[in-house]
C-alpha cells in the first residue's frame, strides 16, 4: 500500500496542490497510530537498540557487543551474574564446589535444565561444547577464555592431542569437573561469557562438521538453544527477534514475550528513533544530546561507570618519544577534568591509571597527576625547554565525532602547556588499526574494555607478547609480575599488591596516556524494568519486564 505513496505525493506536488500533499501526509499520521513502544508494552515485546548487525549467534564464534546481547538471551552458561550486584549466581549449574587449592571446580547441573527441543542439558553437552570451542579450525576468537583451564592452551595449539589430558571432564550425566592450571579468582566470571556456553551437539553436527563455523545450524528454523529465549526471526540489517522459550527451566519467571534487537550504527538515528517511540532502549546517547536530557527528561538517561579506560597509546619506538620524560610530560600536561567537564559534558571520570579503580577491591597506584609545571620541567630535562627543538608529534584517531573532539582539545593542551607542535590525523578504522599494529604512529587513541571484573584483564594486555600492547613497551619485570607472580599469589590481597606493583612499574614508563574511565550511557523508557545499571553494562533479559505506567508511550 505504502509503495505507491511517494509517487502520489509527487504527482500532487506536480499539480501544485501542496495542500493536498500535506493533507494526505497528515492522514497517514492518523493511520500510523501506535508506536513500537506502546505496542511493545501491550504485548510484552522489548524494542532494543543494539549497535550493529550481528555477525552470527554461534556462541563459540561470535566476538562483538551486538552478538553479546543476543547470545545472552538465547543461551545460558553454568553460572551467571546477578544483573544488579554482578555477584555470581547459579544458572545451568545449580551448585558447585571449589577445591581448597582453588584449582578444581565441580559443577552439578540442575535436573530441569533442558534444550529448547526438550533434550536434557548434560555434563556431556558441556564437555563436547568446550571440546568444540578448542578446535583450532573453528577459529574461536575468544578461545583464550579457556586458557586458565589445565592444558587447554596446549591442546588448542596442538602440542597435546588427547583431549583427556585437558582439565575438562563430564564425571556423570549431571557432574562436570574443571581443573585449572593455577587458581584464577575470576574463573567463575568467565563461565558467563558466551565463549563458554554450551551448544547442542546433534544440531551442530546435523548442519556441518563440529569445527565448521557459520553453518546453517544457527538459522531460526534450525537452532536449538538453552536460554530464556528462542531465535524467532532474523531480518538482515532490520532486526533480529527472539521469543520466550517455554522449555527454559525458569520460564515461569521470564516476563518478556519477545525482544526485537535493532542494528543501528548511527547514534543520532538511534536517539531519534527512541524519541519517536520506536525503541524502548538505546545502546548509546550522542554526547551533544546529554545536556538536553539532563535538563528535560533526566529519568530517561541511564549513565553509569563502565569497566573501560580511554587512553592514548604512545609509540615508544619513535626516537622523539623514546625518552620516558617526554611521555610523562605528555601525560601530566593533559587537564582531564577540564577536558571532561567541557567537551565531554561531564560524562566520564578522569583516569590516572589504566586499571579502573574498584575492581574486586583493587586500588590503582598513585603515580602522577595533572601537573603542567612538572610536565614542562620534564620536557626541559629531556632537552626540549619550552618545547624548543622538539620535532612535534601526530595524534591519530579513527574517524569518530567523540575521538575528534578529544583530539582537538588535547592538541591545544599540549601546544599551550608544552609548546610543542601537534598534528591531528583521522583515519578509517582499518587503516588506523593497521598503522597502530605496524607501529606507524606517534600517539594513537585507544581504549580497553575489561572482559571480566579483575585487574588482570587490564594488565596482561601490556605484556610484551600481547597483540593489544602496540606501544613497543616491553619490560621483563612487568611480564613476570603479571604472568607468573599474580596467578600464583597465595591470597587475594597479595595478588592485588602484585598487580599494584606491576601497574606502578607500567605507569612509570608511561607507554600510554590514560585519559578517562568510561561510562555506559543509554536511554530507557520508564516502562522498562530490570535493565540495571552496572559496572559491566551487563543485562540479563530473564529479569527484564515492561510495566506501562500512566504516562504516554512517547518519551517527549
Amino acid at each position: 500500500m505504502c509503495c505507491a505513496l511517494p509517487v502520489v505525493a509527487c504527482v500532487q506536488m506536480e499539480s501544485k496542490t501542496i495542500l493536498s500533499l500535506f493533507l494526505s501526509v497528515s492522514l497517514l499520521g492518523c493511520i500510523k497510530g501506535e508506536t513500537n513502544v506502546e505496542q511493545g508494552n501491550r504485548e510484552g515485546v522489548l524494542h532494543f537498540g543494539n549497535y550493529g548487525e550481528p555477525q552470527g549467534v554461534d556462541p563459540h564464534v561470535a566476538t562483538g557487543v551486538p552478538e553479546h546481547h543476543i547470545i545472552g538471551a538465547l543461551f545460558e552458561g553454568l553460572v551467571q551474574k546477578n544483573p544488579n550486584s554482578l555477584a555470581i549466581e547459579p544458572a545451568v549449574a545449580e551448585r558447585w564446589t571449589v577445591s581448597d587449592d582453588g584449582r578444581v571446580y565441580t559443577f552439578t547441573i540442575r535436573n530441569n535444565a533442558v534444550w529448547s527441543n526438550g533434550d536434557k542439558v548434560t555434563a556431556a553437552d558441556f564437555e563436547w561444547s568446550w571440546w568444540r570451542a578448542l578446535q583450532p579450525a573453528l577459529a574461536s576468537s575468544y578461545v583464550f577464555m579457556y586458557f586458565p583451564i589445565k592444558n587447554a592452551e596446549a591442546y588448542f595449539n596442538q602440542q597435546l592431542t588427547d583431549f583427556a589430558d585437558v582439565g575438562i571432564k563430564a564425571i556423570d550425566e549431571k557432574t562436570f569437573r574443571v581443573e585449572l592450571d593455577a587458581p584464577a579468582p575470576y574463573f567463575l566470571q568467565l563461565l558467563d561469557h558466551y565463549a563458554l556456553f554450551p551448544v547442542h551437539r546433534l544440531t551442530v553436527e546435523k548442519f556441518g562438521e563440529p569445527d565448521e563455523s557459520y553453518t546453517r545450524w544457527t538459522r531460526p528454523e534450525n537452532i536449538v538453544s538453552n536460554g530464556p529465549f528462542l531465535l524467532d526471526e532474523w531480518r538482515l540489517f532490520k532486526y533480529l527477534s527472539v521469543k520466550k522459550n517455554p522449555n527454559y527451566w525458569d520460564a515461569s519467571k521470564v516476563k518478556l514475550n519477545a525482544i526485537r534487537f535493532y542494528p543501528i550504527d548511527k547514534q543520532t538515528t538511534e536517539e531519534r528513533m527512541f524519541r519517536a517511540g520506536q525503541l524502548h532502549r538505546t545502546e548509546e546517547v550522542p554526547i551533544d544530546r546529554i545536556p538536553w536530557y539532563r535538563e528535560n527528561r533526566p529519568e530517561l538517561l541511564k549513565i553509569a561507570p563502565y569497566i573501560g579506560t580511554y587512553l592514548y597509546r604512545i609509540n615508544t619506538g619513535k626516537p622523539h618519544l623514546a625518552d620516558v620524560r617526554v611521555r610523562q610530560a605528555l601525560s601530566m600536561s593533559v587537564d582531564r577534568r577540564r577536558l571532561i567537564d567541557t567537551v565531554l559534558n561531564g560524562l566520564f571520570t578522569p583516569a590516572f591509571s589504566v586499571v579502573p579503580p574498584g575492581l574486586l577491591g583493587y586500588e590503582p597506584p598513585d603515580v602522577f597527576t595533572y601537573d603542567p609545571d612538572k610536565a614542562r620541567q620534564l620536557l626541559s630535562d629531556a632537552g626540549y625547554p619550552g618545547g624548543k627543538g622538539y620535532p612535534g608529534l601526530e595524534i591519530q584517531y579513527n574517524t569518530h565525532e567523540q575521538h575528534r573532539k578529544i583530539a582537538i582539545a588535547i592538541q591545544q593542551m599540549w601546544r599551550e602547556e608544552l609548546g610543542i607542535n601537534v598534528r591531528l590525523q583521522n583515519k578509517d578504522w582499518k587503516v588506523y588499526l593497521d598503522d597502530e599494529t605496524t607501529g606507524n604512529f606517534d600517539a594513537s587513541r585507544g581504549g580497553w574494555i575489561g572482559d571480566y571484573v579483575d585487574p588482570n584483564t587490564f594488565m596482561d594486555i601490556w605484556t610484551a607478547a600481547s597483540g593489544v600492547n602496540r606501544t613497543g613497551f616491553s619490560n621483563e619485570e612487568f611480564d613476570r609480575l603479571v604472568l607468573q607472580q599474580a596467578p600464583n599469589a597465595k591470597d587475594h590481597d597479595t595478588r592485588l599488591q602484585i598487580f599494584q606493583e606491576a601497574e606502578r612499574l607500567f605507569l612509570e614508563h608511561m607507554p600510554v596516556v590514560p585519559l578517562y574511565t568510561y561510562s555506559s550511557k543509554h536511554l530507557a523508557h520508564p516502562s522498562v524494568k530490570g535493565l540495571y545499571s552496572n559496572y559491566m553494562d551487563y543485562y540479563n533479559f530473564r529479569y527484564v519486564s515492561l510495566v506501562p505506567d500512566s504516562t504516554s508511550g512517547k518519551p517527549n
Binding site: 501526509v25 497517514l28 500510523k32 574461536s140 538482515l236 597483540g467
Partner: protein, 312 residues
C-alpha cells in the same frame, strides 16, 4: 539499432572483466584486513581463519579460484557476515535499494523536469528564478542534512511519518524517497533548463514557430525531445549513482539496502562483498549507460538517422 545494442553488450564483457580483476587486486592492497580488530585474535586463530578463506594461498591462486567460482555464479561467503553468501546478501539488499532509487528518481524527474522546462520558457524572469531556486534546495541541502531535517520536522515535531525502516510501518518510504530524490531533482532541473534553452534557439524550432504552430505544440512536440537529451544522458549514471549512493539515506533511515552493503564492505575490508557489490553495480552501470545512450540516440533525430546503417 539492434546491432548497436548487441555490439555494446559484447563490449561489456571485457569491461566487466577488467573491473573484476582490477578490483580483486586493488582491494588486497588496501591496508588492514578483514580480521583485524581492536582486540586482535591470537595468531593461531588468525592462521585458521586465513586457511578457511584461502587467504593463505598466493594471490593469483585466489584470483583463479574466485573467477572459477564466479563463473558458476558463486561469489563466496561474505567475510564480515560469513553465514551468508554474497549473492544472497545482494539479493536481499538490491530490491530495497532499487525501489528506493525508483521512487527517488521519479520524484526527481517530475520535480526537476517540470521546474526546468517551466523556467526555460521565460528565461531570466521570475518564472525562471523561482522554480529554479526551489529545485536548487536539493543541492544546497546535502542528503546528510536534508534527511535528519525531514526526520525532525515530519517525524519528531509533527509526528506525521515514521522515521526509520522500510516497509515496516505505513508511510515509512516517503521521507527516504524525498531525501534521496531532492539532490537529483536539482540536477535534472538545471540540465533540462539548459537543454531546453539550447534547443529553443535551434533552427528547427524557429521554423516550427515560423510555421505558426502554437507555442505549447512547439514546446511539447518539438523542443522537449531535443531539450531533454542532456537529462537522458544523465539518467543512466544517475540511477547507478542512486544505487551505490543511497548509503547515506539508508543509514539515516535504517534501510537494509545495497548502498549500505557497498560502503560498509569497503570499510570492513570484506573482500568478497566488495567484489560482489562492485560486479553487480558495474553491470548495472554498463546497462544503464547503454540504455541512456540508446534513448539519447533515439531522441536526437540526426544521430538516429546515422545509426540506421549500424554503428559507423
Amino acid at each position: 539499432m539492434l546491432r548497436f545494442i548487441v555490439f555494446r553488450l559484447l563490449q561489456a564483457i571485457p569491461v566487466l572483466f577488467v573491473v573484476i580483476s582490477a578490483t580483486f587486486f586493488l582491494v588486497r592492497q588496501a591496508p588492514g584486513g578483514p580480521f583485524d580488530a581492536e582486540k586482535p585474535v591470537i595468531p593461531a586463530v588468525k592462521r585458521a581463519l586465513e586457511a578457511k578463506y584461502n587467504l593463505d594461498q598466493s594471490l593469483f591462486q585466489q584470483y583463479l579460484s574466485y573467477m572459477g567460482d564466479l563463473v558458476q555464479g558463486d561469489m563466496g561467503p561474505s567475510f564480515k557476515y560469513p553465514g551468508w553468501a554474497v549473492q544472497d546478501l545482494i539479493a536481499s539488499g538490491f530490491p530495497v535499494t532499487a525501489e528506493l532509487g525508483i521512487y527517488a528518481l521519479l520524484i526527481a524527474l517530475l520535480v526537476g523536469t517540470s521546474a526546468g522546462v517551466f523556467a526555460s520558457l521565460k528565461p531570466n524572469t521570475r518564472q525562471d528564478y523561482i522554480p529554479m531556486s526551489v529545485a536548487m534546495i536539493g543541492i544546497c541541502m546535502p542528503t546528510f542534512l536534508l534527511g535528519p531535517l525531514l526526520v525532525l520536522v515530519f517525524g519528531i515535531w509533527l509526528e506525521w511519518l515514521p522515521i526509520s525502516g522500510w516497509g515496516d510501518l505505513p508511510g515509512d518510504k516517503i521521507l527516504p524517497s524525498i531525501t534521496l530524490g531532492a539532490a537529483y531533482a536539482a540536477y535534472i532541473a538545471r540540465l533540462s533548463r539548459g537543454g531546453m534553452l539550447e534547443v529553443m534557439s535551434q533552427d528547427y524550432i524557429r521554423t516550427a514557430r515560423a510555421k505558426g504552430l502554437p507555442e505549447h505544440v512547439v514546446v511539447l512536440k518539438h523542443a522537449l525531445r531535443g531539450g531533454l537529451v542532456p537529462v537522458v544522458a544523465y539518467l543512466g549514471p544517475a540511477f547507478a549513482g542512486l544505487l551505490s549512493g543511497s548509503f547515506v539515506v539508508e543509514t539515516i533511515f535504517q534501510i537494509p539496502g545495497l548502498g549500505r552493503f557497498y560502503v560498509q564492505a569497503a570499510f570492513n575490508r570484506d573482500y568478497t562483498m566488495i567484489l560482489g557489490t562492485t560486479i553487480f553495480l558495474s553491470t548495472l552501470i554498463v546497462l544503464f549507460n547503454l540504455l541512456s545512450d540508446v534513448i539519447a540516440t533515439w531522441m536526437n533525430p540526426r544521430l538516429r538517422d546515422s545509426l540506421r546503417g549500424g554503428p559507423q
